[in-house]
């Protein structure tokens, strides 16, 4: 199960995880799948690793000893727009995943995922398919519905999502497979993952001023 980029070179992955056993486990799974993996245990190490060159994929934990993974994701997204970014989460909860998505991550990886799933997820990501869970989809669609009072949890602007994208999210939240969603909505099965990546991109807040603008738009900040 070896995966190669279009150039034939091995796909480089920067894995940022402070818990050594978890790090080993993920690294093993990815190396076995044929990826070139560099690891970092802290934000500082990750930055120096990035300075050495842009990886194809960045996998990062959020809680790091010397800072927050969100910083790293934002920096990477700005400096290396071509790098695919995924957040590593223990529970796949909305809090961590959504905050990562809003700064530019396009997926998440569960720390206890089976090795084959880990490899598959990274491969799909590189192929342009962003993974999404039912609970994340549920969180996003519920934000599209919510009225005056913003629900608890990270701020999220769903204004740019199209009705079709919201329908797709509903399908995912209710446990339908991509194929089922595609047939319900009259889409081709292959286009659904692309829609999901689009959704992630639309949820991304690019700059600080844009974040403020979005917050004002949503009534989170009163001027």
């Amino acid at each position: 199960m070896t995966d190669q980029g279009e150039t034939g070179e091995a796909i480089t992955i920067l894995l940022v995880e402070d818990d050594a056993p978890t790090c080993w486990r993920l690294q093993d799974a990815l190396v076995k799948a044929g990826y070139e993996v560099r690891t970092a245990g802290t934000l500082g190490e990750a930055r120096s690793a990035l300075a050495a060159g842009a990886p194809r994929v960045l996998l990062t934990d959020l809680r790091l000893p010397d800072g927050h993974g969100v910083e790293l994701i934002r920096e990477t997204r700005q400096r290396f727009p071509d790098t695919e970014i995924m957040v590593i989460s223990a529970l796949g909860d909305e809090e961590s995943v959504i905050s990562a998505i809003t700064v530019g991550a396009t997926g998440y990886l569960l720390k206890d995922a089976f090795p084959t799933d880990i490899a598959t997820t990274v491969r799909d990501l590189v192929a342009g398919h962003s993974p999404i869970s039912a609970s994340i989809a549920r969180f996003i669609v519920r934000r599209t519905q919510s009225s005056s009072e913003p629900p608890p949890g990270p701020a999220l602007n769903t204004a740019k999502l199209t009705p079709r994208e919201i329908d797709i999210l509903w399908g995912i939240a209710k446990g339908f497979s991509y194929a089922e969603i595609a047939s319900h909505l009259g889409l081709s099965r292959q286009t659904v993952p692309g829609h999901i990546k689009n959704i992630y991109r639309k949820l991304e807040v690019h700059t600080r001023s844009e974040a403020v603008f979005e917050a004002v738009q949503q009534g989170l900040i009163k001027l």
């Binding site: 529970l91 799933d117 039912a134 446990g175």
Partner: protein, 639 residues
């Protein structure tokens, strides 16, 4: 006080009445004295220097000397009236002489040296016997000559009252005019002023009554005042009036008016008006009826016989009513009205005495004037009372607003307290539930991991336990999310976890949603319902993996409706070997574990009001969970 009265009813009560009545009567005696003195003092003084008292009266063809003031007999014909002839001395050089008649009834025609200078019959007000209208007339100087001059006064009388002629004054106009002005002010202008007040008060009281029909007292008083005003401004029923019949009808106004005042008094002091009290209106109505049918002078005679006594009787009644009110209420209003009634009564007696010539030298009627004054006073008092009541209402409304605000604030505070309490209770409940859920799953699994590690187990067993623990943790976290009553959202997450669990075992998970909606919405769905349902499904999948060696698991989600509303059905079917539901035979350990798992599933289903049906044979096992139409509010099997 009422208690004392109840214990010893008769005596103390009587004593109380006496102790209150006596001072009141004494006070009224003082009022009578004051009124009499006041009437004496207010008697306008006339210029005595120019008085003419010695006259010769020619009546019915006979002449005799008389001294003014003089009463003549009553008569009903205007022809051949009594003729008074007298003489006065005019001194040349005095400019502008006048003749002044302070009081006469009913009309006079004055001639100086045979030339008429004054005929009061043309002045309707002067003709009223109840008004003491004075007359003055300038004597053209050409008529006067030095020395003795003759004055003749023809006195017209219409019965039944006797004719009356007060002293006649002849002298310089400047000397007579002030006395005339004083009398005009007292006996002409003042009644008009009072009548104007009455008409205004009548309008105000009528409006009050129209707006507050429950209080007829205002209406009664307004009616009395209207009658008074009409009576004051209509021409009197004496010749030469044009509409004599209408005028005689108006004679009835005085007794009706006085009866109305009694009604007012009774109602004002809070008594019920007795039905036989209507008899009080009878004399007035009789006069009215006679006035309609017969022409003058019969109504006038009737008025004298019926009307005037009725007025007096009404006044006496009113005095009694007010006295009773004073005894009962001891308040300012009853005392004031009592004094006013006494004053009017005194004036009425004064007038009666003068009519019957017990007081000979004057014939000034004051009862009408005092009555008008009393009405005005009562009206003003009522208006004042009304305004005070409005103020009280305002105050009451203000108090009410303040009270309501207070109550509202208290309510808000208690609501906030209640809310905080409810929140705390909900939090505590949630904590209890979370504890139980964690205890049921995660806790046990972690302990099992500890136990396995201590016994030196390695690999798969510990991994399985830890994975189960993580799965359960995710389930607990997931179930806390608000899914808005849509169980499909919880099942969506569960599908992901189940697929992840099944992938290493190479078991395919088929997901079949029979209806596009999936399951009906349940607004009453709570996290603990979700957790129970998901655990049942978990158990079913785990059984299929562990004990049935299945290759395919099919989850079917369907909505049924038997006509009693929709309900959901979730079934988990595998193609494994099945197992013995009876629990007998088979390998002991596995069977026991399965049996316990089944028991757990059933109890969880019961808690959510769901029905669990298990079927198993060689071709596979099917767990069918029929959800309730409405999820139960409380966890019946908890604890």
């Amino acid at each position: 006080m009422s208690e004392i009265a109840a214990k010893a009813p008769a005596r103390p009560k009587r004593r109380l009445i006496v102790s209150r009545l006596v001072p009141y009567l004494l006070l009224q005696a003082l009022v009578v004295i004051a009124t009499v003195l006041g009437l004496q003092l207010l008697q306008p003084s006339d210029p005595d220097d120019f008085a003419l008292s010695g006259f010769s009266l020619r009546e019915d063809g006979k002449a005799r000397p008389v001294t003014l003031p003089h009463f003549t007999s009553s008569r009903y014909s205007l022809a051949d009236p009594p003729l008074y002839t007298g003489a006065f001395t005019f001194k040349g050089g005095d400019a502008g002489w006048s003749v002044f008649l302070p009081r006469f009834s009913n009309a006079v025609e004055v001639a100086i040296n045979g030339v008429v200078v004054l005929d009061s019959r043309r002045d309707t007000n002067a003709n009223r016997p109840d008004r003491n209208t004075p007359e003055i007339a300038a004597i053209p100087s050409s008529l006067l000559h030095d020395g003795s001059n003759e004055i003749t006064v023809r006195l017209f009388v219409w019965g039944p009252l006797k004719g009356f002629l007060d002293t006649v004054y002849v002298g310089p106009d400047a000397a007579l005019r002030p006395a005339f002005e004083t009398r005009t002010l007292l006996f002409v202008t003042l009644p008009v002023v009072f009548s104007a007040w009455q008409s205004i008060l009548a309008v105000i009281l009528a409006i009050m009554w129209l707006m507050r029909r429950r209080e007829p007292v205002y209406g009664v008083l307004a009616a009395a005042m209207v009658l008074g005003v009409i009576q004051a401004f209509m021409p009197p029923p004496v010749p030469p009036v044009a509409v004599s019949r209408l005028a005689s009808v108006l004679l009835a106004s005085a007794p009706i008016e006085s009866a109305l005042i009694v009604v007012f008094g009774v109602l004002f002091f809070g008594w019920r008006w007795p039905r036989y009290g209507m008899l009080l209106f009878a004399p007035g109505l009789i006069v009215f009826a006679v006035g309609l049918i017969a022409g003058p002078p019969l109504p006038r005679i009737l008025f004298l016989l019926l009307g005037i006594p009725t007025v007096g009787f009404s006044l006496v009644l009113m005095a009694c009513v007010t006295a009773a009110a004073v005894v009962r209420r001891q308040d300012a209003a009853s005392l004031t009205i009592g004094c006013a009634v006494t004053i009017v009564l005194t004036c009425w007696i004064h007038d009666m005495l003068s009519v019957f010539e017990f007081v000979t030298n004057e014939r000034t009627f004051v009862s009408r004037l005092s009555y008008s004054a009393m009405l005005v006073a009562i009206g003003a008092g009522l208006t004042w009372r009304f305004a005070r009541a409005l103020n009280q209402v305002d105050g009451f409304a203000g108090q009410l607003v303040a009270r309501v605000r207070e109550a509202e604030e208290r309510l808000k505070a208690s609501f906030a307290r209640e809310e905080a309490r409810a929140r705390a209770a909900a939090l505590a409940n949630e904590r209890t539930r979370l504890m139980r859920d964690l205890h049921d799953g995660l806790g046990g699994q972690l302990i099992s991991i500890v136990a396995l590690s201590e016994r030196g187990h390695e690999g798969a067993t510990i991994t399985d336990a830890a994975r189960a623990a993580l799965k359960d943790l995710r389930l607990v976290i997931d179930s806390m999310d608000d899914i808005g009553g849509d169980l499909m959202l919880a099942l969506g997450s569960w599908r992901e976890r189940a697929a992840m669990q099944l992938r290493p075992h190479d078991i395919a998970l088929h997901w079949r949603v029979a209806t596009p909606q999936g399951l009906p919405l349940h607004p009453e769905l709570r996290p603990w319902h979700v957790i129970q349902i998901v655990r049942i499904l978990d158990e079913a999948v785990t059984n299929a993996v562990k004990h049935a060696a299945a290759r395919h698991i099919t989850v079917t989600i369907d909505t049924r409706d038997d006509g009693h509303g929709p309900y959901g059905v979730i079934s988990v079917a595998d193609d494994g070997g099945g197992f013995d539901l009876g629990g007998g035979g088979g390998e002991a350990a596995g069977a026991n574990q399965t049996a316990r798992g089944l028991r757990n599933m059933r109890s969880r289903a019961t808690r959510c009001g769901a029905v669990l049906v298990l079927s198993s044979d060689r071709s596979g096992t099917c767990v069918r969970l029929q959800l309730p139409q409405v999820f139960p509010d409380s966890d019946a099997a908890a604890g």
